[in-house]
Amino acid sequence: MKQKLVVIGAGMASGRAIEHLVETAPDAFEITLFNAEKRGNYNRIMLSPVLSGEKAYADIVTHDEGWYAAHGVHCRFGEHVVGIDPEMKVVVGENGHMPYDKLIIATGSAPFIIPVPGRDLPGVITYRDLDDTNAMISAAEKGGKAVVVGGGLLGLEAAAGLAERGMEVTVVHLMGHLMERQLDEAAGYLLRGDLESRGITIRTQASTKAIVGDGRAEAVLLEGDETLPADLVVMAVGIRPETRLATDAGLEVARGIEVNAQMQTSDPDIFAVGECVEFDGNLFGLVAPLYDQAKVLARTLMGEEDAFVVKDTATKLKVTGCDLFSAGDFADGEGREDIVLRDPSRGIYKRLVIQDDRLIGAVMYGDTADGNWFFQLIKDGTEIEEMRETLIFGPSFQGGDTADPLSAVAALSRDAEICGCNGICKGTIVDAIEGGASDLGMVRAATKASASCGTCTGLVEQLLQVTLGDDFEMPAAQPICTCCDLTHEDVRRLIKSKELKSQDAVWQELGWKTRNGCHVCRPAVNFYLLADWPLEYRDDPQSRFVNERKHANIQKDGTFSVVPRMWGGITNPTELRAIADAAEKYDVPTVKVTGGQRIDLLGVKGEDLPFIWADLNKVGLVSGHAYSKGLRTVKTCVGTDHCRFGTQDSTGLGIKLEQVLWGSWTPHKVKLGVSGCPRNCAEATCKDIGIICVDSGYQISVAGAAGMDLKETEALGVADTEQEAIDLTIAFVQLYRENAKYLDRAYKWVAKVGLDWVKARVVNDLDERARLIEAFELSQSIYRRDPWADQTKAAAAFQPLADLTLEAAE
């Protein structure tokens, strides 16, 4: 019989423990997960990139409701736990009791708020979870001044993120230099210089006396009575374990909930894991030991023997452009010697602390590439006497003459730790690669290496290169093209977060190496700008491939094809007559019926385009956008009008959808199908969006493909009414427009973000659905018009600029 396991708190430690349990012993426990936050687990250490706009929330989700549902875990998200009754073995939730056989407390930590007057004013926030991050993002939208109290890791990441979002930021730090727990004074000074060069003001040895303001925070008052004006105050002075539930339940609690090496509390059926625990006098704030605890806890619950031990941890700051690394003990002391390398012009500082011929501490700033190698020397207690003279130059100078970065990785021992977050050694990764994991994604899936904070991604890729040799091609973070160093995803995020609204802003702000991009990146940037800023930015025809600039498809002989729109595949004698007349008048050599239920006139001369369009316009025919990365066709069957099987008016719905969606630009082409019954005559289930009408309503499925790849659509949701079917379709298209990489068809994009992520926004979150529809309509207020009608007014531009055939032979 399954034991009842209750988990309080969905954080990084508990998520990992549950993952271990369901993967190794899926049938051992019936798991219930409480979480006060209304969402599942996400990678908390990546909140800083979310704040700075380099990542989105979706990028940092580790376990959402979909994942838990798939693994049979019952979620009670958004519900606070009121108490624990260890006698009755019951957890008391806001919405009811939950008995347990085993209980895991994973309540994490709470931000420490310094007890000064004014700390409760609106406008004072802490930096701990996604809600805090979102609060900072929305505060930053208004601009103004921010004061961050605390110059440690968290405070500086908050400061950098807010500065990145355009706020004027001052950091108030009690101690003499920044990050005094991780850095020595010299490295702290270099860090301060880097942050100041970004416009952040740093006040060290400054003590906060009060936060003042009328109804909300307006300023921070320092000791010495100096006043710093502030529209936003961020408290980031530290965290303390969240132990209230454990204390109330009568468990032994010191600073944290006391546990033994099996993560067991003073009650043998209650365990604790993560930032809320105290073990052997230690508290834990970094992710690596938390993951170790999660593993030990999972093994203990499965009846296996394991014990948690405290290891050294290394620190990195996640502020883009500030590379720092620290590990071990680097305080001055008797019998300790320093090796220091300074290169002020390059902003590089390295300091190694040696005791008894062993490395015991390392601080690096500016160049941290060798950090993991030094960290390994510290952990192993390696004797360094022989390499002492060249030690500070790193592994590539030890016993070799090559400066190849790969040789440093190749030189690492099998038990050298590569992924600090997950405690994954080189040997584990190499075994996975030799076992068939041939790219970064597969190594992540097999070992979890580089799947948390991601800073070791480069090392894992180098291991792939070393192990596979020429079989490995550096993949992953491919820049868009040689014009820049950023990926499509980065550029999209930065256009949004830095509010870049023109091509020039993109070239300047994002460090483009060319004057105005190239044929690869400029069309992508043009699309991203018009998708995110429909009113501020106008589509630039000169950044479009010829088909989209000419509104016709270029053929191999330089002529064009003309495809008028036939709404839902419906036409009439007047339209057909106009098409026939145009074909004759302009000597169209080929007239073909397309797969999208319309007629293609192939072989039209470029000069004739505006005139043939004008003729077609006269009977109401408009561009079919058969050339665009946009809505192509909505293929329909005849539905209830004529068919004896039809359940709904599929033709009518198809026409409505086409009339709503036409003219919209998307990352790649979008094709729809609407079938009137499950016999599916419109072949809707291989389209980007397919709708199957049934007696009870409309089944909407997405992400199909019938091109280079062949793929059936996946169910998005069911609509009771025609209007809801249209709403879901529009919301899906807009989500795709806002997020996908240029030239990714919908199915490729859905494969990247996951259908659950899409459903959460389009189907489940009604506010988000409404926002998406509104955003789409806003964009369509500009683009829902016939480009042919516009172009016919500029017919001269389609003619040669001049004709010199008579003059050139003089």
């Binding site: 105005n516 190239c518 000169q542 191999k556 470029g606 600029l801 003059e807 032979a809 003089e810």
Partner: protein
């Protein structure tokens, strides 16, 4: 030298191109900057793509058919064995002037 006024600079969109007909075939006029202009053969030596329909970036054009990239200063295709003829062209008082000497020489040859 035999310079011909072939049109106004604003008749070509910025980062756009127009073609002109000549006895030698079409020549494309590329406007790479507000006051920066190039002239070259309109025909891609690869498969005959119309270069005036390509995407223009910096001082280069990408052929719309198979993405060959030509440097408009030299006519050389980037990384490919092929080139296009270039012709002297300049802007005087917002008018585009093309030197037809080269065109005439070749038609006579």
């Amino acid at each position: 030298m035999s310079w011909i006024d072939i049109g106004a600079i604003e008749d070509i969109p910025l980062r756009g191109a127009r073609k002109i007909k000549t006895a030698l075939g079409c020549v494309a006029i590329f406007r790479t900057g507000e006051q920066e202009i190039f002239a070259a053969s309109n025909l891609c030596p690869h498969k005959g793509g119309p270069l005036s329909e390509g995407i223009i970036h910096d001082q280069s054009v990408t052929c719309p058919l198979h993405n060959w990239v030509f440097d408009l200063n030299t006519g050389q295709a980037q990384g490919e064995d092929g080139s296009i003829s270039t012709f002297p062209v300049e802007i005087r008082d917002d008018r585009i002037w093309l030197d037809s000497t080269e065109l005439a020489k070749r038609s006579a040859a």
